[in-house]
């Protein structure tokens, strides 16, 4: 009997615990704190952190693979949805169902700003290469600059799954930190006169335009870049559900039950990939640093093209809307609004910034497609 008891005690997590497990549990708690108290993208960070917590309880086995006929752990099975690239596009479908492309259609020049703000992706890619990451790892790190969770997770899960937790956490954290990261860069790169520019009101966009838009984007971008089809196609299908007016049931489910279920699955499964040996590395620190640079260069890229457009348009375009091109919808657009209003209290840039903001979503999905097609 004593043997059995001793054996049982051996099987408790306290006995089996290594100090790295303790650190990982602490990291999970810190992330929970950031998500819950600091409200860093809690919808993702809370499941990610909890998944990390569960997976790092010694002997808990929630991420154990199936073997010898024994079934695997819960999160091992949920992880298949990431491994097979199923969750990110379906989540993107829900994002599409929640996105109004109206401001972009009303002001299509926004697309250029959404393109310029992808600069951060490629700068971070180069820097990551310089730091010794391989091509796939560097591309996965670069995509943090796309400021789009599902895109980052989709690309990383295809190119470099072992970096998944670090990249997902960095991407979502910086998205939450956009109001802190962007303003200094925006102020440094623009003059007060530029920031004060009040833009013309946007034209009305008809229902027909909103319906044709997602179909057209799918066809055009799909033909130019087939690798972007899963992400962009799903985004646009969701948007079509939203706009076409005859699929309200599907629109509603895509942006509620379905996206929520998949967010829980995706978040916990991403978190569960953060085992100590993969996460407690110098690489993770590099990723955190490079992610920040990616956001910074993306912001700069957008603002600088904004300045150019300001000049070419004879001062009609406020360069502050360029920073919204990094996506991080709609935080980055809010930042443009806030910084603009500080320079000129009667300035309402929010809707103008929504154009580059949603263009940035398309832009980073395309960038992901290029990276996937060249390095996948």
């Amino acid at each position: 009997m004593l043997d059995s008891i001793l054996e049982f005690i051996q099987s408790t997590g306290f006995v089996a615990m290594k100090w790295t497990d303790l650190i990982m549990i602490t990291v999970s708690c810190v992330l929970l704190y950031l998500g819950i108290v600091k409200k860093f993208e809690p919808l993702l960070l809370v499941p990610i952190a909890f998944g990390m917590l569960l997976a790092n309880i010694p002997l808990g086995g929630i991420m154990d693979p199936a073997k010898d006929g024994q079934p695997g752990g819960l999160l091992y099975y949920l992880y298949y949805g990431i491994k097979f690239g199923i969750y990110p596009p379906l989540i993107f479908m829900g994002v599409g169902a929640m996105t109004d492309f109206g401001p972009l259609i009303a002001n299509p020049k926004s697309l250029l700003l959404g393109a310029a703000a992808q600069l951060g992706i490629f700068v971070a890619f180069l820097l990551a290469r310089a730091l010794g990451f391989d091509l796939q790892g560097a591309a996965s790190i670069g995509i943090i600059g796309g400021a789009d969770g599902p895109t980052a997770i989709f690309l990383t899960s295809k190119l470099k799954p072992e970096l998944l937790p670090a990249i997902a956490i960095a991407a979502y954290s910086y998205m939450a930190l956009v109001p802190i990261i962007q303003p200094p860069i925006m102020n440094a790169l623009t003059t007060k006169k530029e920031r004060m520019v009040v833009m013309d009101q946007l034209r009305e966009v008809s229902k027909a335009e909103k319906i044709i838009f997602p179909i057209m984007v799918t066809i055009l971008c799909g033909l130019l870049l087939p690798a972007a089809v899963p992400l962009l196609g799903a985004l646009m299908l969701g948007n079509l559900f939203r706009e076409c007016g005859v699929t309200e049931r599907l629109n509603n489910t895509a942006q509620n039950a379905l996206i929520n279920i998949l967010t829980i699955f995706l978040g916990t499964a991403v978190g569960a990939t953060a085992s100590a040996d993969k996460f407690l590395t110098v690489q993770t620190l590099s990723i955190v640093g490079l992610g920040l640079l990616a956001f910074a260069f993306g912001t700069a890229g957008g603002v600088l093209l904004g300045k150019l457009m300001y000049m070419l348009s004879g001062g009609k375009i406020n360069p502050l809307i360029g920073s919204a091109g990094v996506s991080a919808v709609p935080m980055a657009a809010r930042v443009s609004q806030v910084v603009g209003q500080k320079a000129n209290p009667s300035n309402f840039l929010l809707m103008h910034a929504m154009g580059p903001n949603v263009a940035g979503v398309i832009g980073s999905a395309i960038a992901a497609g290029v990276l996937l097609s060249m390095l996948g």
């Binding site: 697309l111 992706i121 005859v246 049931r249 832009g363 395309i366």
Partner: protein, 123 residues
């Protein structure tokens, strides 16, 4: 830095290039939208002017305004139900009041849009 070779720069070039080319393509097409939309708007305006009618009605009624159920209506309903069932009004909750016909729109609603409505109508 020796890691950054020709291939890396190619990735950057093709990457930023494709992003710009694609989004510029979209831009041009959307400018086309603008032109068409502008033309249609002008046509409509002219049509209205030629009919000598004040262009007061909005071109397109908003989708969700169709309900038109005021608090007074809700109160009336609650009172009616309360009277008929002999319960106090506070015990009755009206889950939803929605207009029964979405016009012709519904004509082609599929099975699981309609079946319910008919069933509800009967109960």
């Amino acid at each position: 830095m020796s890691n950054i070779g020709l291939y890396e720069w190619t990735v950057v070039l093709i990457g930023m290039g494709t992003v710009f080319i694609t989004l510029i393509g979209l831009w041009w097409i959307l400018e086309g939208f603008s032109v068409v939309a502008g033309r249609l708007a002008r046509k409509k305006a002219e049509a209205v002017r030629s009919a000598d009618l004040p262009p007061s009605a909005p071109a397109q009624a908003p989708v969700r305004a169709s309900a038109g159920v005021t608090p007074e209506v809700v109160a009336a309903i609650t009172a009616a139900v309360a009277a008929a069932t002999g319960r106090g009004p506070s015990e009755i909750r009206i889950a939803r009041i929605s207009p029964s016909s979405p016009g012709l729109a519904g004509l082609n609603t599929p099975v699981w849009g309609y079946a319910n409505r008919l069933a509800a109508g009967r109960r």
